[in-house]
Every structure is written in C-alpha cells, then in structure tokens.
C-alpha cells in the first residue's frame, strides 16, 4: 500500500469536547489533488490544523505516510509590520530544509527568484512586506510554499480575496504541484472552481458526507445535507458512544 498518503481512522477533532470533525474514516492517495468543501464550522480548517500537527484528535487517529509538510493557514501568525523584504520572506521557505543555521546556497537563492517570478512578484524583491496588498502577500506565501518543496501541501482558503487573474496564476502552480506528484489538500468554497480543477473532493459538514471523485461527491442531495448542518454546538449534547 505504498500509494496511500493519508489514512483517517475514525478521526474526531474538536474543541472543548464538542466535535468539529466527527468520525472521519478514509484515505487520501499519494498525488491526490483534493478539495475540502462544506459549510462554515464544518471542520475543514480543523482537519488541516490536525494534519499540520497543531491540534490533537479527540479520538481516532490520522496516519501520514508523506515526508515534509507545507501549510498555509487561513489566518496565519505572520507579523505583517515586521521589517522584512519580499525576497527574505520567500527564503524563509527554505528553513525546513536548511534549518535555523544552515547556509543558503546561490542555487537556492536562484530558486527563490524563480518562485517569485512564478507568482508574478519579479521586481518586488526588495520591497518591505508592509507595502504589499492582500493578494500580493498571498502570492508571496505561495512562493514560500514552493520553496518548502514538500510532499504534502495544505491550503486553507488560498483564493479568498484574490482577483481572478491571480487565482489563475496560483491554479497553474497548484497543477504543477499535482503533476510533480505532490499531495495537495485545499479548503475551498467556490464549487465551480472545485469541479473544474479538483479530481477529488471531501465534503465535510462536521460529519463526513463524502470522500472520492468530485463528480460523485458534489451531488445536489449531499450539498443539501451539508447546507442543513446545525452550525452551533448543542450545549446539552450527550456523550458520543458511536462504535469505531
């Protein structure tokens, strides 16, 4: 089973004992380009957080067979006022490989230059990140992801507040990752975009409503079920005893 990338084993994630992802079981194959869709509060970001190792499961487990992980959170910790240039921020993508002490070679600097070119930020190298627009910053974070050179790439709403031209540019990069055999998971809300670009989809409304080929997952019936999810936690919810 060398092709399996991620195995969800009856995975339940949540906050203060309330589940946000409830009993997810399934597999993601190596090289999958997977969209995660569902209503707000449906557990999409929570799932990525768990995969990134920032949230421990309430029960169940997830097995990750991939090495290296690049994660772009929806709301990151990036200090936008920090005096750092566009080029240097892109270079931080190399810290996973080079560590906090290793020397960054000429070749790697050239790769950073190429990554900036790929996201259309050539000429911005010496600009302070403070001066970038939201969309430009998002492109820069994509360049950093490229330099991280990871087998697993997690994107949390990467296209929110991005203009259509930039989305097209970023989709090209995402397809390049797909072609290189990387496993990409992206949380998205634009169903048309998902249908056009993502072979596989996970529909998540706290309970998993489908994981598989996009055409079979995104049916009207399932989307209606997803839309009907009660978003608020039930304060008086009783303990869950569902068998694994």
């Amino acid at each position: 089973m060398a092709d399996i990338a991620l195995e969800f084993r009856d995975l339940t994630l949540g906050y203060d004992r309330h589940p946000a992802v409830h009993h997810l079981t399934g597999t993601v194959m190596r090289g999958d380009l997977l969209a995660i869709v569902g209503p707000n509060g449906g557990g999409k970001s929570t799932l990525l957080k768990c995969l990134a190792g920032r949230l421990a499961p309430l029960s169940g487990s997830v097995v990750n067979h991939l090495s290296g992980l690049a994660y772009m959170p929806q709301i990151g910790d990036l200090n936008r006022d920090f005096p750092v240039s566009v080029f240097d921020l892109a270079l931080t993508g190399l810290c996973g490989k080079r560590g906090m002490f290793g020397r960054i070679s000429r070749g790697e600097q050239a790769r950073a230059q190429e990554a900036l070119a790929a996201v259309g930020l050539t000429g911005f190298e010496n600009r302070s990140i403070r001066t970038l627009s939201g969309g430009q910053l998002q492109r820069l974070l994509f360049a950093r992801l490229m330099l991280q050179d990871s087998e697993l790439i997690l994107l949390d709403e990467p296209f929110t507040a991005i203009d259509s031209r930039t989305i097209d540019d970023l989709l090209v990069i995402m397809h390049r990752w797909h072609a290189e055999g990387r496993t990409v998971l992206a949380v998205l809300h634009d169903l048309e975009l998902v249908k056009a670009h993502f072979p596989k989809t996970l529909l998540l409304a706290r309970d998993p409503l489908g994981l598989g080929p996009t055409t079979t997952v995104l049916t009207d019936a399932r989307l209606d079920t997803a839309r009907a999810m009660a978003e608020a936690f039930d304060r008086d919810a009783s303990e869950c005893h569902r068998a694994a």
Binding site: L69, Y71, G76, D77, P83, V84, G99
Partner: protein
C-alpha cells in the same frame, strides 16, 4: 579645552574610565536585545523583567550583603524563573505571554518586598533601582563584559531563528522543532543583560539603555540589521555623553546616560526619515 571637556575626565579618573568601559559593554549586548524586543512588540517586557529581577537581587543582598555574586545569582534566579515560567504557561494554557509575565513578576515583586521588610534590614533600595556606574569594580566589569560577549555570540548564531520566531511564529514552529526554544533562549539573554546591567544602571534604568536606542534605530531604518547597527553606537554615545554631562554638571550619572538616550530618541522622533517631520514635508508622489 576640548581635551579637558571630552577626554580629560576619562584619563584623569579611573572610575570614569571603568564607567565608560562598562557602559560600552552594556551597549553592545543590551541594544541588539532591545531591537529584537521591540520587533516582537515586547518593548515593555524589559520593564516587567526588571521588576522581576529586583526582589531576587534584594534577597541576594539580604543574604550576602553588597556582594556581586549573591546579588547576581539572586537576580538571575528570579528573572529566569519568571521568564521560563511565563513562557511555559503561555505555551500550555490559554493565558497569553503578557498576562503570564505580569502575573509572575507581580508575585516575585510582592514576595521580594515581603521578605525584605520582614528582615528589617536597611537595604539601600535606591542603589538597586538606579545602580552605581561610577563604582564598578573588576569582577563587576568582568561580568558585564562576559555577558556582552556571550550575548553577541548567541545573537549571531541564533539570528535567523529569533527573527523567524518574531516574523511568523506559527510557521517557525512548523518548519523547525526548535521554534519556541529560540524564544525561550532569547528571554534568557534578556534576563542576563538586565542582571549584568543593573549593577551599573540599576534594575529600572538598565531597561532604558536597552529600549531607547532600539526605538531610535527604528526611526532611522526599516531593516533589522541596520537597526542593530544604529542602536549599538547610539547606546554607546549615550553612555559617553551621559558620563561627561554628569561629570561636568555634577549630576547622577545613570539617569544622565538614559536622559541622553532619551534626547537622541526625541530628536529622531522629529528629524529621522521615519519621524514626524516627514509628515509635514510632503513630497510629490511618483508615477507608479
């Protein structure tokens, strides 16, 4: 004439010479630390730490009297204890670092005052608060110079890690297991510099030589390395000018040093490239 004003005092009086050497060494270590604190939006942390160190040093004094060793060790234990405990609390609970630190330094301060007053000793709290840069002996100078050297070496080695941890802590801990260790290590050096500096400037004023040059540097540059390169000479100049002013005008030297640093900051606030004056001297905007 100029010689008498600027150089004479340092040639003539060994205590002035020692004060200058001590001040320069403190500047080398504390000013870069201040730049990083400022970039982390922790400019007030130095002040909180100073309050945490004070009771430790006071208890050291109670045990060993005016003893470099006891007061240093007391300050270190209190400072490191508070720094590490608050780092731990902010990483394991919902309490954020500023609250964690506030809680521990207040406990440390209250505990220290209680112990000092219970002992009924007439401790010279003013010396602890404001230091005695004109009375630096050899062991104290050695301590200050050692801490400055260690600090520079540690900042050089940990530069990337500390910057990454300031810039994007979530990302830093994602790509490196040592992410938060850099932060804790950095806090250790904040404490070390405060402890070394308080012998000269006192626990409260030493924060001034740490933060004021950093604030000044921020107004002159938008680049971290340049900021450090500005903050260190600004701190040194403050020491030199402060000592001379205190000598000629017969003023307390520690406060004089910090006042010079404050004056440089105030002047920069107005005249520096990122200061106020630029707002009132609008330049025409560019084409693109």
């Amino acid at each position: 004439m100029l010689y008498d004003a600027l150089i004479g005092p340092f040639v003539e009086f060994p205590f002035m010479k020692r004060a200058l050497v001590g001040g320069i060494a403190i500047s080398l270590g504390a000013a870069p630390i201040g730049v990083f604190l400022m970039l982390r939006r922790m400019s007030l942390i130095g002040d909180a730490m100073a309050h945490a160190i004070l009771p430790g040093a006071a208890i050291g004094f109670l045990i060993g009297g005016i003893s470099l060793g006891y007061m240093t060790i007391g300050g270190l234990i209190a400072g490191l204890g508070v720094a590490l405990a608050s780092g731990l609390v902010s990483r394991t609970t919902l309490v954020k670092e500023d609250m964690a630190l506030a809680a521990f330094y207040l406990i440390s301060l209250a505990l220290g005052v209680t112990l000092v007053s219970a002992s009924r000793s007439n401790i010279d709290i003013l010396a602890l608060l404001f230091g005695s840069i004109l009375a630096l002996d050899d062991p104290t100078l050695l301590l200050i110079v050692s801490v400055a050297s260690l600090t520079l070496a540690a900042l050089a080695v940990g530069y990337r890690g500390i910057l990454m941890e300031c810039l994007d802590p979530g990302f830093a801990s994602g790509v490196s297991r040592y992410g938060s260790l850099f932060h804790l290590g950095f806090l250790v050096f904040v404490v070390l510099n405060l402890v070394a500096g308080f012998h000269a400037l006192g626990t409260l004023l030493v924060v001034g030589i740490m933060m004021l040059p950093a604030g000044t540097a921020r107004l002159w540059s938008d680049d971290v390395a340049t900021m450090i390169a500005i903050a260190v000479p600004v701190a040194m100049l403050s020491n030199l000018a402060g000592l001379l002013i205190s000598y000629h005008a017969g003023l307390a030297s520690g406060p004089a040093i910090i006042l010079v640093a404050g004056a440089l900051y105030a002047a920069s606030l107005i005249f520096a490239p990122y200061g106020l004056l630029r707002r009132f001297l609008p330049q025409r905007h560019l084409e693109a």
